[in-house]
Each structure stands twice: as structure tokens, then as C-alpha cells.
Symmetry: C2
Subunit: 242 residues, 2 copies
């Protein structure tokens, strides 16, 4: 559920959401947690990438997941297999997570676990290439995914997501031989929207590019943990085209 375009009202809603996001981020900073907001179209592979990420990085970090879906806990259940805290949020008819919903998730997390022991919270947003990009939830960094099956033109047609992203994962590269798609053209279109975003080309199926992604996650956690009171101002964008 969402309103039709109304600039005045929209700004007020975003303003209220931003205040909630800043509050959430203050909690994360207080507990020394890095928070990433993971966003994409439906089916670009967010959950598959998180599965691969948890399989490797839970050996190095204490990770929790806040899992947003309109209905069902299908994705939450997939990630619970990695023995990490997974807080499921059903957004009902809402097309994105907002800071208030995530505040509820943080509340649950702080009640059921010791948040000071957690290093990283991965927020998996509702599958939607438009709306989640406008609603901060308290993250330090935004991760966007674009599947190569979605076509070369998407960064131009859905600019906000690509402008806002700190890291873009171009997913399903294993399908490249079967598609009429030019990955260099995707990269060029992304750069047109956001010259400094980190771009990593990956396949959750073959594992291609995942080490570059894990290294990026490690470097950001390291970066953030060194500056606990400046967590929300780091986000310097490295370039690691894998």
C-alpha cells in the first residue's frame, strides 16, 4: 500500500521515516553493529547470495538477518538453516521495509539475543527495484542486486536504486552464454547513474565473484568497526569490479 505521487506529503513521510532510520542506526552504532540493506527486483537472487554469504562468513562474524517479505517466511526459513538469528517481518501489502518495521525487528533482536555480540545485520528487503531505495531503515550501506536476466537498460529506467547503492552485485553471470546481454553495457549504464559504486559480478550457482564480495563485506565491517562513532559517515566507495 502506498500513495500516488504527492510531493508535499511524500516529503513528510520520508522525513518521518528518516528520523526512524537515524534512530535505528544509533542503536546499531551503540552496539557496534554494521548494517547492510540488501535490495533488488524479485528473483534477482538476494536470498541465494545471503545463503552463500552466511555459509562462509558466519565462521568469521556473528551475523543476524532481518528478513522482509510481504507474506510467508519462505526466505527466513532458508536462512535459518545457517543457525543465525533471523527476524522475519511480513510487510502485508507494503512494497518495502520502512524504518518503523525494522525498529520492531531490532527490538526483537535486542530482546532475544545480546546485540553487543553481533557484528553484522543483513536486512533483506522486499523484492522491488523502485520503492525500497527511498526508505532508509538505519543501514550503513546499501547493497543492490541486478540479475543479468533483467536486461541492460534497467539502471537507466530505475535510476534511484542505482544512484543510492554503495555496492552493486550483478548476479546470475552463469546464464550469460544463454542470453543476448552485454555485461559491459550493464556496467556502463550503472556507472552513468553512479560513477563510484562498487560493482561485483557474481554467480551464487558457480561461486564466481563471491570471494570479491566476501572481501568487500570484510573490508566494510573492518572499516566500520574502526570508527564506531562515525559508522554512518564512512561508506567510502571502493572500486572492485570483479
Amino acid at each position: 500500500m502506498h500513495q500516488t505521487f504527492d510531493a508535499a506529503l511524500g516529503i513528510n513521510l520520508l522525513h518521518a521515516n528518516q528520523a526512524g532510520a537515524d534512530h535505528n542506526r544509533a542503536h546499531f552504532d551503540e552496539w557496534g553493529i554494521a548494517c547492510f540493506n540488501v535490495m533488488s527486483s524479485p528473483g534477482a537472487g538476494k536470498t541465494a547470495i545471503l545463503e552463500r554469504t552466511l555459509a562462509v562468513l558466519t565462521a568469521e562474524y556473528k551475523i543476524a538477518v532481518i528478513e522482509g517479505d510481504m507474506t510467508t517466511e519462505l526466505d527466513a526459513d532458508r536462512l535459518r538453516k545457517y543457525n543465525v538469528p533471523v527476524i522475519a517481518i511480513n510487510t502485508g501489502r507494503s512494497c518495502h521495509l520502512d524504518s518503523k518495521m525494522v525498529a520492531g525487528g531490532i527490538h526483537t533482536l535486542a530482546h532475544e539475543y545480546n546485540p553487543s555480540e553481533i557484528d553484522l545485520v543483513l536486512v533483506e528487503n522486499v523484492g522491488n527495484l523502485v520503492c525500497p531505495a527511498e526508505f532508509e531503515v538505519g543501514e550503513h550501506l546499501k547493497i543492490a542486486l541486478l540479475s543479468i536476466t533483467e536486461g541492460e537498460d534497467k539502471p537507466l529506467k530505475y535510476p534511484v536504486m542505482f544512484q543510492e547503492a554503495d555496492c552493486l552485485l550483478i548476479t546470475k553471470i552463469d546464464l550469460a552464454p544463454y542470453l543476448d546481454v552485454d555485461v559491459d553495457r550493464i556496467v556502463a549504464n550503472v556507472r552513468q547513474m553512479n560513477p563510484h559504486v562498487t560493482i561485483i559480478v557474481v554467480s551464487a550457482k558457480t561461486g564466481e565473484g563471491l570471494e570479491a564480495w566476501f572481501d568487500w563485506v570484510r573490508s566494510q565491517i573492518h572499516h566500520l568497526s574502526k570508527s564506531p562513532h562515525q559508522l554512518s559517515t564512512v561508506g567510502e566507495k571502493a572500486v572492485a569490479l570483479g
Copy 2:
């Protein structure tokens, strides 16, 4: 741009949108035009299917397109090659077409062409599996697309789109050999949400299933044109699993 979940306000917005949609549909009915609202995630292949559709059906019907995109006229330009009227609507930051935007498109159409000569208006919505399903624009029938690359679980996770659809095109079936996807499972999940929806499995690349889709379009236009004053009440859902 859209608001966070607010049931009371949301209902008012939908009510206002519905009144506009009814007004648009009254225009279509007056002119004897059938209107289809074509919706899906980004990159599911809406424009590719419309290209294939225009290539064949413009020999039989006078067709016009209302093309919604946040920014750019990339898709509109692809469809203009088929020598049909294409009205491009840029939604800006809005994640869906609403009835007011489409009213503007209808106004342009009526000014620049003779609407009584048009048989079919295809509305291509913004790529988004969530929001467009809630905002009628004056269509008689809703067409949803789901690419097999998006995975089997999408009908369960994004139920509104599948509940609302009159016809579902399962697209990119040519990629089935390269994916771990069970198309029967997709169909079963769709049926769980909407037992009577027409489901047609297609590939814009190989042409598989397109004749079944064209036949469905033909039958709906025929059906609608026979009952000009009941255009919005027909929509009996045939079952043509191709």
C-alpha cells in the same frame, strides 16, 4: 514516491484512484476499445512480448500503447518501430501508473488520433511486482508476466499480483534447460493464489506459446466487442495452459 503502510489513508487513495479508473474505462467503453494492463517485475519481458504481439496483431487490429516508465522513453521507442500510437508516461519517482496518469495518456490519444478506430490499448506498467496490482487504470483485463528466472516461490511471496491477474504469461521458457526451476511448481503456486487464471507459457525469443497468447488476445477482443456496454464485466477466465 508512496507512503508507508497506513490502512485508513490507503483506502482513501485507492478509492480516489478507483473513481478515476472507472472514468477511464467509461471512455474506453464509449469508443469500443479493449484495454489490457500489462504488469510484472522489471526485466520479465513485458516490452519483448509487446513487440512480438504488435508484429502479428497490428495486421488484424488497430492497437495503441500507453507506456509507463519512471524515466526514459527506451521502451516507448522500441514499440514505436511497429508504427502504432505510443503515448509515453514518465512516472518520475512513482512506482506504478495510476488512473490519473493514464487519463492524461487517454487525453493525448483522443487528441492526436481517432479513438473510435482503435480496437485495443495495451498499457505497459512500471516494472514492479507489488504496487501496480493495486492501482486500476481503467483496464478491462490484467495481464501479469513472471519470468522463470524469478523462481518458483514468487506467486506465494507476492500474492496480490497473481490474485488480480486475468492472464499470466510465464516467460523466458527457453532458459529452462539452464535453470534449477520446476515450471509445474510455478503453475501450482499460481493456481494456489488464483485457481481460474489463464496461464500461458511463452518465450519471446523462440516464439513458443505466442500463438496461444495471440489467440487469447483475439478471443478477449471478440468477447469485449460483442458486449460494448458490459466491457468491464466480462473477463471470464478461460484456462489455456500452453
